[in-house]
Symmetry: none
Subunit: 216 residues, 2 copies
């Protein structure tokens, strides 16, 4: 890590937000935005390109929502597999427990909300560059203090049922499609409702989508 200036790669699909992050980060002088990307693919390419000329980014600042393609979480995972030494800092509008957990387990070194002040953002980047995990107290408490912490994971079969649900299939149609009985479908559904903390199929689909358990 260079001591003089930290090179940053910005990943966000909104030009306005990129401009804002750049303005905030560069305002102190110690940080420098080396490249910008608006998709996961562009981000990956940018890291490769920068490293190719010996100017690999010291921190990647990544929006959690990247429009159509892979999310910031997925991009972070990919980046972690190919470039495990590059710290990723996730910025997001929302600070839900599941989002923060997903970010951390995807290998992100930090999670900031977009309403963070300029100073907080710059400090967080510096921390991430130094290899520290950065979680604002407010979020850390919510994630760690929640105690409930571990939400039960859905089984593969349950996810499969969930995907059929999202298509608006009836229990009978799901049963026919998966070559099982309606009784079994009902059992799975009851398990799903319990695990998602939900009362009916429509809500289950909404929650599943929000948690990225199914595509949509």
């Amino acid at each position: 890590m260079s001591d003089s200036r930290l090179r940053i790669l910005l990943v966000d699909d909104h030009p306005v937000v990129r401009a804002g992050l750049r303005a905030v980060l560069e305002s102190a002088g110690r940080l420098q935005v080396a490249a910008e990307a608006s998709t996961a693919a562009e981000a990956h390419a940018a890291v490769d390109r920068l490293q190719g000329r010996g100017e690999g980014p010291d921190v990647v600042v990544m929006d959690i929502e990247l429009g159509q393609g892979p999310s910031g979480i997925e991009a972070t995972e990919q980046l972690g597999r190919t470039h495990p030494q590059v710290p990723v800092l996730i910025v997001s509008t929302y600070g839900t427990v599941s989002d923060v957990q997903a970010a951390v387990s995807a290998g992100a070194l930090g999670y900031l909300l977009k309403d963070a002040s300029a100073q907080e953002l710059r400090d967080a980047v510096a921390q991430a560059a130094a290899g520290s995990l950065v979680l604002p107290a407010q979020l850390a408490r919510r994630v760690l203090g929640g105690g409930a912490g571990t939400e039960p994971a859905l089984s593969l079969r349950e996810i499969e049922i969930l995907e059929e649900l999202a298509l608006g299939r009836t229990n009978q149609q799901i049963a026919a499609g998966l070559f099982i009985s309606q009784a079994t479908v009902k059992t799975h559904l009851n398990h799903i409702f319990g695990k998602l903390g939900v009362g009916n199929r429509t809500e289950a689909v909404t929650v599943a989508r929000a948690r990225h358990l199914i595509r949509g």
Copy 2:
């Protein structure tokens, strides 16, 4: 209206986004950010303050989401009542039909997505300052019914019902929430199913989401 430079009031609860909007808007020279606000109340006060010294804003650029308090839509309505001559341009991450309709009927003179380019944003501000309604073709088509569209447009009430549906509410809960009878909810649902070409509520939500009729 001054001819030289357009004075802009920025309203957004995220410092980073404000910095981005400011950077983009001021990059061309013709536009100048006269003040920033992070809440509806601050926005209102800022307009009063600027007008008090004869420097009333030519355009208000307002985020549709303003964190805790009143939304950008509500702020636009308030502003329209007290300062009807000030054009408001809404910027949002999402371009759902209901959001756009709400913005326009609240008196906004335009609706832009945050993934708009810098040029689009500057042009839209200029248009709004001149008193023109600004709606990107993509959104206009979605809201107005899509020209080639064989698809019938949903009424405001139907979209409202659809949003409740997406939350997994039962007919009874929707009825209670909207102060109507279950019979009415059922009637609306049948109309929605017909218009979306769908057979049940879960599928309706999926299709509505795919067509950006509701958020998600």
